[in-house]
Point group: C2
Chain length 362, copies 2
């Protein structure tokens, strides 16, 4: 699709989507991006329904143009039934660390940690009418996709392979986010990703944005949004030259004024450590890219004992808290893409303008 | 460095280097690329000294301009002392396959399989005066580097991380090949790559060309040659826009008329199987990217029992031959990058011109 047609359908002046980053940002950053003319995103996966509405209100109160578009992002995994054996094996693996920090494993509250899109999410979408709803890990039930589109929103979802892109196209999405393996945070991988035994081999299906974007453009008839490793204006221009309609940028925003990134995480992103990231399933149960730290080194970034997503989160949380109290990120999910060279401690409005500097449509 | 200055120093009209691909091409392809105005390469690692000279002569007899530059590419690993225990463990792992094909493991001739740069290589360089000598796996002894440069050749080497690029710069290379993880065949990785135990984690240091090239350009003061995932004219242009002086392209040439790629390998490259490649150490002992096949699935693409490079090659060779006799690539190293969309069964001269179509200097 022609880039300007797609930008118009979203209602953005600049071909930039600020990637939703759960735990890192909310409505304030989305509004700053919107004020520059890009598409800001609110990540909803770690928020309660009230929390989502609060962030939407923060967005609305901070935008200059009251009609500025917004993207609400949801996860759409199936929440698995907790298995006692799985949790026990996971806690056994973590036992030396619990011991080190004097944590009683019996005291750990179980909880899913991440919520998928559901009827309440749909009600929020219907009440607040975002211009865009984007998904990670495939799509929710077709009924939901139809209801969102009937409500006037475009539906986007991430594809990490051409096969996933074709699957999404068949199911009626309005655009495909081609997520290259450089991207920080969770891989959107959803096909052939169930078998834990071969998780390490499954991850070899993941290709870079530079390889994925042109192949996705060729294989599908939908607008393609490039994601992964896009750090600056040159990167945005390169991806648009390769046929993408819009660039989705995450990592570069993580040091921005509006980001709620922790000080510890900010320091890691700005340090040489950020040169070494890996896909790891240790923090949630699904592969996600973060800066290599102690637990990733000691248990291996991909470990087959980790429970299914998102059931891994509860047992590792107290370790993270305990270590962070001592200023250590040894157990923290230090999400980061493979290219931190574009991270800037400035406002997100300014960063958005800089990212789009070489690709403004006249 | 300015792109035209670097092109002039190499003596090429087009900013294209045909990547050296051992076992896939020789002087005929290098000459076709030279005739288009690019830099052709002869991969020397699997050739005897006589074999190298034969390919140089094939190059010379096929070039139109007698002063067309040539790149001779060498490996520069340390050949390890064979360990009987290591070979036994490897043959034990392969035993079920030897059994399946009625191969007597005792009949397998041991041999290093790949030769590093040495005094004889230097004598060939001094006698034939190629414009460029490129290395994979670091650099040979500083004496060799100096001798090659004194002889009038530029010295290039591959870096898979910014740290490797800085290491090469310190040791006086003339340009750095930034090898993104999309690239087919052997990773050039040479720092922190010794410890077999953590090989899987070491591989997480590998980043895409889209992430690596701009960071290498920023971190070093040398011309950067982009490699990995570059499939067509758009890809070449994108990499030059990101700051590379030249694009090195391999996979796209593998179906060319001058390639000696086997029929079986050609079929795999042209099939949907080529969508799924992985880094594997099974075929030589060092991680290299190839199309996922039976042995990679069954032993895992990275297996810690595999002997050190290049000692893995001899035991797996008879399995490859036996399977290929039945038309099967189950045990073949089907080298390929992550983007086969640019593979074309045309002459390499024509392909080189097409690759450079958007970046010709006036």
């Amino acid at each position: 699709m022609n880039r300007s047609v797609f930008q118009n359908s979203v209602g953005i002046k600049l071909p930039i989507i600020q990637a939703p980053m759960a735990g890192i940002q909310g409505g304030a950053m989305a509004a700053a991006v919107a004020n520059a003319g890009g598409l800001g995103s609110i990540p909803c996966a770690m928020l309660s329904p009230d929390g989502i509405v609060k962030e939407i209100e923060a967005f609305k109160s901070a935008i200059v143009n009251p009609h500025a578009p917004l993207n609400l992002n949801f996860f759409c995994h199936q929440t698995p039934n907790p298995s006692e054996a799985e949790q026990r094996a996971w806690k056994d693996l973590l036992a030396p660390y619990f011991n080190e920090f004097c944590i009683d494993p019996a005291s750990i509250a179980e909880g899913p940690g991440r919520s998928p899109f559901d009827d309440i999410s749909l009600a929020i979408v219907q009440a607040h009418r975002p211009a865009v709803v984007s998904f990670h890990f495939g799509l929710p039930d077709p009924y939901f996709v139809k209801a969102i589109q009937s409500n006037g929103a475009l539906v986007l979802s991430s594809a990490t392979t051409v096969n996933e892109g074709l699957w999404l196209q068949e199911r009626g999405v309005d655009a495909i986010i081609a997520q290259g393996l450089e991207a920080g945070g969770h891989r959107g991988i959803f096909l052939d990703a169930d078998s834990k035994v071969s998780l390490a081999l499954d991850l070899t299906t993941q290709v870079s944005s530079f390889a994925l974007v042109p192949q996705m453009v060729r294989a599908t008839r939908l607008p393609v949004i490039a994601a992964g490793g896009i750090a600056d204006a040159l990167g945005v221009k390169a991806m648009l030259d390769l046929g993408a309609c819009v660039a989705q940028v995450g990592t570069a925003y993580m040091l921005c004024d509006e980001a709620t990134t922790s000080q510890l995480h900010r320091r890691a992103l700005a340090s040489p450590e950020a040169q070494h990231t890996a896909l790891t399933n240790l923090f949630t149960g699904r592969p996600a890219r973060g800066i290599v730290n102690r637990i990733m080194r000691e248990l291996g970034p991909i470990n087959s004992t980790v429970p299914r997503f998102p059931l891994a989160t509860s047992a590792i949380a107290p370790l993270r808290s305990a270590a962070e109290k001592h200023g250590s990120g040894d157990f923290s999910a230090l999400w980061s893409g493979q290219n931190t060279s574009g991270c800037k401690a400035i406002g997100a409005e300014q960063l958005t303008k800089e990212l789009a500097a070489l690709v403004i449509l006249r």
